[in-house]
């Protein structure tokens, strides 16, 4: 495990470090989005027995998304005449800021974190709930029925699925006794069996409850990021493309970026909270630094998200709500109460 501490290594005041880290995160998310769009195209192509992008840039069309991004930046920026101009312009930034702000409390190493808040996990829930406001703003300001319906569906879905997400994220909090992401990471180093191995991660800690919580979180996060099988807000066949129907050029790019950033963020939260984050799966793998493990775990989860998107059909609205309120919520509640009881008994 790398014990690299950026504050000590460069002897910087904490504010400078946070500004630098914010820059790194923005750059990383942009590069990740380009990479993820390319990956998504390739995965969809293989799922549908096609080749995907093959021309741009030479080998396997690797420069396709870069070319697409440049095209988006150079496109004309159109604002509908009857749109609410100020809200229309503001909305993409709110969505993007809400998604990106979460990255501040995600640890990429044992010491590599923007800021270790004592309410870390709650901060994540709070910021991601503001994304809904941005989406509703976008849908309403567009003055377009499809956009408005997309936004309404999106908001209804995100508000409902926040509950199972919150409840399943509370399990590791109960087991750790802290909301800080660093504390949650460190608590997964040691457990009942030998220290430093993968079975100390929270996903394996109290079988099968934490495993169920992880699965619940992962499925609910698909709804939170509006991805298949829960991509009703962006159902092309009925809604054109959801709340960002009227957006063009760079503002559309912001929504796109936020969407892919969100995919990474939910995966990163799952890997920190349930999969040990930057911890290596075994002590003899400690020579590989933490950020690499963190990225590896998150990217595997991102890959699963894409894999599911291109294999599963879309659910209906009533099925979506049925799954959330009648399956996920009771399961999450039972999980929560069982773990809470166990923690209380254990402490006694």
């Amino acid at each position: 495990m790398s014990q690299f501490n950026p504050l000590e290594a460069f002897n910087l005041p904490i504010v400078y470090w946070q500004i630098i880290w914010a820059g790194i995160i923005v750059a990383f998310v942009t590069v990740f989005a380009l990479f993820a769009v390319y990956l998504e195209r390739k995965i969809s192509a293989y799922a549908q027995d096609r080749m995907g992008p093959m021309e741009t840039g030479g080998w396997q069309g690797w420069a396709q998304t870069i070319a697409d991004a440049l095209k988006l930046l150079l496109k004309e920026d159109i604002i509908p005449e009857l749109a609410d101009r100020r809200l229309f312009k503001l909305a993409p930034y709110i969505v993007f800021a809400g998604s990106l702000g979460v990255m501040a409390v995600i640890p990429f190493g044992v010491n590599l974190i923007g800021t270790d808040l004592n309410i870390g996990l709650y901060f994540i829930l709070a910021l991601s709930s503001t994304v809904v406001i941005g989406i509703l703003m976008a849908g309403w300001a567009s003055n377009n029925k499809w956009a408005l319906y997309g936004a309404m569906r999106s908001a209804a879905q995100m508000v409902s699925y926040e509950i199972p997400i919150g409840l399943s994220l509370m399990l590791p909090v109960l087991l750790t006794g802290s909301l800080s992401m660093i504390d949650i990471t460190n608590a997964q180093k040691s457990g009942i069996l030998a220290d430093g191995y993968f079975w100390n991660w929270y996903i394996f800690r109290v079988p099968p409850f934490t495993l169920i919580a992880f699965i619940l979180y992962f499925w609910a996060s698909l709804a939170e990021t509006n991805r298949t099988p829960f991509d009703i807000p962006e159902a092309e066949s009925e809604l054109v493309s959801g709340y960002h129907t009227e957006y063009t050029g760079i503002r559309f790019a912001m929504f796109f970026l936020a969407e892919y950033a969100n995919m990474f963020i939910v995966a990163a939260i799952a890997s920190v909270v349930f999969l040990g984050g930057p911890l290596a799966p075994a002590p003899w793998l400690n020579w590989i630094p933490g950020p690499i493990w963190m990225l590896l775990k998150s990217l595997v989860l991102v890959f699963i998200q894409m894999w599911l998107r291109w294999t599963l059909p879309r659910v209906r609205v009533d099925q979506l709500m049925h799954i959330c309120w009648k399956i996920f919520l009771p399961l999450a509640l039972v999980n929560f109460i069982v773990i809470a009881t166990l923690v209380v008994l254990w402490q006694k």
Binding site: I119, T130, A155, V159
Partner: protein, 184 residues
């Protein structure tokens, strides 16, 4: 540093609160209210109440404001005309209520011992964390906390009772007919 942050945050809160009541478009009002809640959450952070700040954003900015937006968008309140606001009775009731609120605020502001309350002098920096707040809620304030829980539970049951519909299905000439009836 803290004083500058305090001034900025309170200016944001006051300005957005003024915008909430002065906008004609209800959607704009709701969105300014969201900004207002963010300002208030920032003030909570300055006071060291991090947990409360997060709860403020989750519950108010995240959930309740989304509900407000839903209602405003669904009801299409754009048609609120200004003529109705001119009624004398409504205006006089408003004047009395806001005058009383002003008296209340002036009284409480004048009687508060600001030197003792000033945020720099919060001795226990940990008082607003989840651990402290949780242990207080489950020891000193257990009964009020449970009563609030029961109140919310009653509200939930009320919603279910109001929204519950009786669905009857019958087959006539090979066609399934579904009928919905309000139970409440």
């Amino acid at each position: 540093m803290i004083k500058i942050a305090f001034i900025i945050l309170s200016l944001i809160s006051i300005f957005s609160a003024l915008m909430v009541i002065s906008r004609k478009n209800p959607v704009a009002s709701v969105l300014w209210l969201v900004f207002h809640f963010f300002g208030i959450a920032g003030l909570y952070v300055l006071l060291g109440a991090h947990f409360l700040a997060a709860v403020q954003i989750i519950v108010y900015a995240g959930a309740i404001m989304v509900l407000f937006l839903f209602v405003v968008m669904m009801l299409n309140l754009n048609l609120v005309n200004n003529e109705k606001r001119g009624k004398i009775i409504g205006k006089s009731i408003g004047a009395v209520v806001s005058g009383l609120v002003l008296v209340l605020f002036t009284y409480s502001i004048r009687t508060t011992k600001w030197n003792e309350l000033f945020f720099n002098q919060v001795t226990d920096q940990e008082w607003g964390t989840a651990v402290k707040l949780g242990s207080l809620l489950f020891s000193n304030w257990l009964v009020p906390f449970q009563i609030v829980g029961i109140l919310l539970f009653a509200a939930v049951i009320g919603v279910v009772a109001l929204m519950k519909r009786k669905i009857t299905r019958k087959v006539e000439n090979g066609i399934v007919i579904t009928q919905e009836e309000d139970v409440a």
